[in-house]
């Protein structure tokens, strides 16, 4: 059974600590790939407000994680997504994938990020320095990136 950890939280995460937890007692892991999403500045952006659908969000994250573990033969994976107000430079999301070999770990991390972006119910509102705010529009390239994987459960 792969070791899966899913969390939605307001608090910051520590990728080093999460990696240690993911690896604890495992002897068959050759590599851990990771992605940390960060609030990128520019155009006067101050912060993002992250909203989610409690219940459905966690169950989609679990489905994505289980699908990645099955498809890429992962030893385990961790997905942590923050909600609430996050200023420029703050981490938003962490994906960790542990596998025997690095190519599976890399592919699984990209797979999970693509599906999180396009199918986990989170929404971002941008807050700008001039007081304006706007909901983020989905990006066509995120849909295209997800499409290369076919269906979530293969």
């Amino acid at each position: 059974m792969p070791r899966i950890t899913i969390r939605v939280q307001a608090e910051v995460f520590d990728s080093g600590h999460e990696t240690t937890l993911l690896l604890d007692g495992q002897e068959s892991v050759g590599g851990v790939a990771a992605f940390t999403g960060i609030v990128r500045g520019g155009d006067g952006l101050c912060a993002l407000e992250l909203e989610h659908y409690p219940g459905m969000t966690e169950s989609m994250m679990q489905r994505i994680a289980e699908s990645a573990c099955a498809r890429f033969g992962l030893v385990g994976c961790t997905v942590i997504h923050r909600v609430g107000r996050l200023e420029v430079g703050m981490p938003i999301v962490l994906v960790l994938c542990a596998a025997a070999h690095r190519s599976a770990a890399f592919d699984a991390t990209e797979f999970m990020m693509d599906w999180l972006k396009t199918s986990a119910p989170f929404w971002k509102r941008e807050e700008f320095g001039n007081g304006r705010s706007a909901w983020v529009e989905p990006r066509a390239q995120d849909d295209a990136a997800t499409a290369r994987w076919g269906t979530l459960e293969s």
Binding site: Y53, S59, I92, V93, M113, P121, W123
Partner: protein, 84 residues
């Protein structure tokens, strides 16, 4: 009672995060519910006239607008997701 939820800009524009509603007479699909909400006019009229802008979940799973609904379902309306 149906439990209806609104997220992101739908919630902002409708001024509420959800409501409970008796399953409308004769309503069998999400489309029937959308038609009822649209008939309210105002922001509901504008938003539910453009279902292409909206994603739907029935009982916390993504669903097509043609999906069936039943009493006590949880129906959520929201824009395309933008997390990650």
């Amino acid at each position: 009672m149906l439990r209806i939820l609104y997220f992101a800009w739908l919630r902002d524009r409708l001024g509420r995060s959800g409501e409970t509603l008796d399953l409308p007479q004769g309503a069998r699909s999400v489309q029937d519910l959308v038609d009822q909400l649209r008939a309210r006019g105002g922001e509901y009229g504008e938003i539910f006239a453009r279902p292409e802008l909206i994603r739907v979940a029935v009982n916390q799973s993504f669903a097509a607008i043609s999906a069936p609904i039943a009493a006590n379902d949880e129906i959520a309306f929201f824009p395309p997701v933008t997390g990650g």
